[in-house]
Point group: C2
Chain length 315, copies 2
Amino acid sequence: MYYLGIDLGGTNIAAGIVDEEMKLVHKASIPTEAKAGAESIVARMAEVARQAIEGCGITVDDIKSIGIGSPGAIDPEKGVVIYANNLGFSNTPLAEMLGSYFPGKAVYVENDANVAAWAEAKCGAAAGTENSVTITLGTGVGGGMIINGKLYSGFNHAGGELGHIVIREGGRPCTCGRKGCWEAYASVTGLIHTTKEHMKANPDTLMWKIAGSLEKVNGLTSFDAMRKGDAEAQKVVDEYLHSVATGLVDILNILQPEVLCIGGGISKEGDYLLKPVKAFAEKEMYSRFNMLKTDIRIAKLGNDAGIIGAALLGV
Amino acid sequence: MYYLGIDLGGTNIAAGIVDEEMKLVHKASIPTEAKAGAESIVARMAEVARQAIEGCGITVDDIKSIGIGSPGAIDPEKGVVIYANNLGFSNTPLAEMLGSYFPGKAVYVENDANVAAWAEAKCGAAAGTENSVTITLGTGVGGGMIINGKLYSGFNHAGGELGHIVIREGGRPCTCGRKGCWEAYASVTGLIHTTKEHMKANPDTLMWKIAGSLEKVNGLTSFDAMRKGDAEAQKVVDEYLHSVATGLVDILNILQPEVLCIGGGISKEGDYLLKPVKAFAEKEMYSRFNMLKTDIRIAKLGNDAGIIGAALLGV
């Protein structure tokens, strides 16, 4: 038997087939065309799902269950997307709607950050643990928590907003309406913000040469300039990593997961990210004198975490 | 049948009898004499436990189980206090040691902040919920989390350190070694710190009259002066409540409990605390557009939460 996972994004829908060894064996992708509305989006989800099934050389009968990772606030018990702004969903019964294309199949829906965490917990960097957290340092900072072997997102399924904890009271405005959220500093967007601040203050930094202009600054600018020995870039990276580690230790002090996985674009920096963050945690976390400490790791499944985690909702 | 609960503190040991309706029916107290060492402390725990049993007019046979709330890092599965600085405990098998005085009785041990949260969840302000958080605004800021009906404190039982999340990166030094922790602003100690800062800056504030001197400032100084119309005291209280609410919304954004209880000395301020904090949360929490929102309440069991929660570990 196989599991079908669908990663529903604002731009693309990806579907994949996961086997009983939790391996992604085939995937397919299609544009979301979000503006066409929920009926159309679900029809396209069904289409890309069929493409994945056929491309894998199996039939619908070989599929045990279907899982969907969706943006927004989800009620996983009812299979309903309460709201997802970028898709125009509002109390959309996604499981039921997609289920009508696949009669008799169980369809599960979860938040996209949660399914990524679920994937890492089942067959990624946190495999074999009952308690883990996965944070994603991307455009924003997302997160998912597995507690006692189950995804946990609060009594109303609105929790796990790990990016929206304030690390600088009164600081940078955050997309959520607060000021000084972790996301405003630790996301790629936050890193770009910090990079630009330092470039403006220092016309001689190598970051100008690497980026070309302020508009072209990206998440790599500071890391690349640092690796070439630029002192100002080193300051940007240090400041960035300090903020990443600050929020991360906050989460450790609250949740003490067995493993904390760091995913998202910045996680490709590997040891440039992991080593300083681990050193900071070792120094600052409340449990530093404990025998048992959280293992901080780079997430393993990359962009496939969404598909795999969605597929494994039925496991 | 009855449950016996012991609240082990650095200064006093309190023991109490809780009936099957989860009501505290009798309690007794004795000095800890912590310097005399673990053997002596346990002997005193047994003594005050017997006093509570006798004072209640029952016998040991009427006790179903015994629970202990202890400071420090606890391994509740083994009944061991891994360390508790103020008691000089280090890998102390507290359950076994106390059990030797009460043969055949099950003895449970948990962290003191956790048992207080457990009490509020079982028969206090969060009764009837499966997911709740209790924070204690006292000398420090403590916390406990109930997730899916169970106390959760991480894979190593070192989590739930809710006071040790940074709300001001680089801010006030915290007892834990970090800078800018929530505890450094939201505890009574933090409030006193802020009160003194404002008094030094303003020789005309009524707070000088109320406190008498800087040394005599306490957690009531600013609240009392505010109620008498002092503008500077209002600033202190506003600043304090802003910090309390900031950390509290962080916790909501992560955990989304059904109920969040606020306990500890400051919680006696009642609506002076609760109303502004709720208004702030309503404005800032990520889930403010959700139908289901965390209910923020003042904790109900006060100083008895420790005894009651310990007793109810066996329920």
